[in-house]
């Protein structure tokens, strides 16, 4: 649908065309193949002599380190996110998956390393440049992050009214098209409090694509969803990505759903990349840790028990501690 709207837009509209080229036209075909080779195969960096060109990768992260207080969340991490593909970043809770999205979108600044989005170094951008870049990004928050005092229609219209001077009739048309894409055109007059969790996320998705961004960041899109809305979201993410020629980054720990739509998967834990590859490759991965995570085994390299002295010794200890 994204490009189908072009008849409504003036030709120089900055948020529809990027560098005068329709978004994604050339990159889509390359995406699925580059996922396996060129761009995303870049790690470990040292062994690859020519770094992949920026054209193949929308996001390139090099030597990223970030700590929260004394806790190291990322320790010299390298990631590449190919254009036009759905890249999944998976890992157990608390590994900084959401932090990664905040770093990519410039809400947080890394302690060290570089984050390039569409060739721009996010970590050193000024406010104005960062806001310009964000107009070309959408982010789907876990809670949806809809403005609670606006109804569905106004929520989706918000970025349009904020960043464009389109007349109200055109805004209405665009909003209805975006809502149609997520199947909620009929819910336009509801308030966010009247929506189910899944519907709220779909509305938020419609809002995220309102300005026809080049990239969408999904923060745990499947958490807490019933099977049906989970299925709807899974399909939506894939469809939007392909139909609107987006680049998607899905951060999640829902292994099966994520693997079913991702072109490429990074598994991160303990501040490092534990595994990477296509879903098929990851499924075939032998490493015990990756197996435990992907198959959801209760015991393995990650222990069931929190570190503690031996039970017998603990029980025999006198005192109240």
């Amino acid at each position: 649908m994204g490009r189908g709207d072009s008849e409504y837009f003036p030709a120089d509209s900055p948020w529809h065309l990027r560098d005068g080229v329709p978004i994604g036209d050339a990159t889509l075909d390359a995406a699925s193949s580059s996922a396996a080779s060129g761009c995303a195969g870049a790690v470990p960096v040292a062994t690859v002599a020519p770094l992949p060109t920026a054209r193949d990768c929308l996001v390139r992260i090099r030597g990223l380190s970030f700590s929260h207080g004394s806790r190291k969340i990322f320790d010299r991490v390298d990631l590449d996110l190919p254009r036009g593909a759905v890249t999944a970043v998976m890992g157990p809770s608390g590994t900084g998956k959401t932090t990664l999205l905040r770093l990519i979108s410039g809400q947080l600044r890394p302690d060290a390393g570089t984050i390039e989005v569409d060739g721009e170094p996010v970590q050193s951008l000024g406010r104005a440049a960062l806001y310009n870049l964000r107009r070309r990004m959408g982010m789907l928050f876990q809670s949806g992050a809809l403005l609670t005092d606006l109804n569905v229609f106004d929520n989706v219209a918000y970025p349009l009214r904020e960043h464009t001077d389109l007349n109200p009739a055109l805004v209405r048309k665009l909003v209805l098209l975006k809502l149609e894409a997520v199947g909620l055109r009929g819910a336009r007059d509801l308030m966010p409090s009247e929506l189910s969790g899944g519907m709220a996320r779909r509305v938020a998705l419609a809002r995220a694509i309102a300005l026809d961004p080049m990239m969408i960041l999904y923060d745990e899109p499947f958490t807490g969803q019933d099977p049906i809305s989970m299925g709807v979201l899974v399909t939506l993410i894939r469809q939007l990505n392909d139909a609107s020629h987006l680049t998607s980054i899905v951060v999640s720990h829902d292994v099966r759903e994520t693997a079913s739509i991702a072109d490429f998967i990074y598994v991160i834990a303990g501040g490092r990349v534990m595994a990477q590859g296509t879903p098929v490759a990851i499924t075939a991965e032998r490493s015990a840790w990756v197996r435990q995570f992907m198959d959801g085994l209760p015991n393995g390299p990650v222990h069931f028990h929190y570190p503690a002295p031996a039970l017998a010794a603990d029980l025999l200890t006198r005192g109240l501690g």
Binding site: R102, S105, Q107, Y131, N132, R134, R135, M137, G138, M139, F141, Q142, S143, A145, L146, L147, T148, Y158, P159, E162, H163, A204, R207
Partner: protein
């Protein structure tokens, strides 16, 4: 021996260290609050282009506090009328009742009690609203839509409070004078001419009324600033927001009373 000496120095130094820590923490908070105020003020020009946002906030702070302020003002005025009457009639000066009621209201009670009421009624609501917007990622969502949440959300609320406070305080005083009139002249039969005549002779427009309005402007600034900062700085959980709300009211009340003392000393201390 050495160990005991160590324990002793620790015992002496640890409270000192804790005090230092708290001091540093408070200082850091003050710094963050100042930065936030700068950010809020930086959004002023943008807000003027969207007066509707401001209008909605004047409604939230001003109109919604109207009833409680007017009713409280009337009761406070009536109490002043009663108490003043009993004290003044002992000195045979009950004609001065009007002066006493009006001076107390215009100089002190109007601005201060209004500020405390607004802090409880509207300030806590502001904190809770901003805190919840933070907890539900709405602020981050705006940020991601390339909209500055401080300019868009906080600035109109700040000015809404700043504008509403003096209007509410003036209303409180006016209703209070009427309450005092009702009790003094209506119930206790103080001479009406003396009530208003002495009042007009003793209450100075610039010295009393204008200074009272200046006070309430200062209170409006402080109360909305503290409330917004507490919401914006809250830990984004339900517990964090509820703590922030309590803190906002307590800090606002303390700040209002402290600033009142300073301003009173500066204005009326000659």
């Amino acid at each position: 021996m050495a160990r005991r000496a160590r324990a002793l120095t620790d015992g002496l130094l640890n409270p000192l260290a804790r005090l230092g820590q708290r001091g540093l923490k408070a200082l850091a908070g003050l710094g963050r609050a100042s930065l936030l105020l700068v950010g809020i003020l930086a959004g002023s020009a943008q807000m003027l282009r969207r007066p509707r946002l401001l209008l909605a906030q004047v409604y939230n702070v001003g109109v919604l506090s109207l009833l409680i302020v007017a009713v409280s003002g009337f009761f406070v005025g009536m109490v002043l009328g009663l108490q003043g009457f009993y004290v003044l009639s002992q000195f045979g000066a009950k004609e001065s009742l009007g002066v006493m009621v009006a001076a107390s209201l215009v100089r002190e009670l109007g601005p201060v009690v209004t500020a405390l009421l607004v802090a409880g009624r509207a300030g806590s609501a502001l904190t809770a609203e901003i805190g919840l917007m933070k907890a539900t990622e709405q602020l981050a969502g705006l940020e991601m839509m390339a909209v500055d949440p401080v300019h868009r959300i906080l600035t109109p609320r700040f000015y809404g409070g700043l504008i509403s406070m003096p209007l509410l305080a003036v209303l409180f005083s006016a209703v209070g004078v009427l309450g005092g009139y009702f009790v003094g002249v209506g119930l206790l039969a103080v001479d009406e001419g003396a009530f208003f005549g002495q009042m007009q002779a003793k209450i100075d427009f610039r010295e009393d009324l204008v200074n009272g309005v200046i006070k309430s402007l200062a209170f409006g600034l402080v109360v909305t600033w503290i409330s917004l900062f507490q919401g914006y700085d809250a830990t984004p959980t339900s517990e964090g927001v509820s703590r922030a709300t309590t803190r906002a009211v307590v800090h606002s009340a303390l700040a209002v009373l402290a600033i009142d003392f300073v301003l009173t000393a500066l204005m009326f201390g000659k």
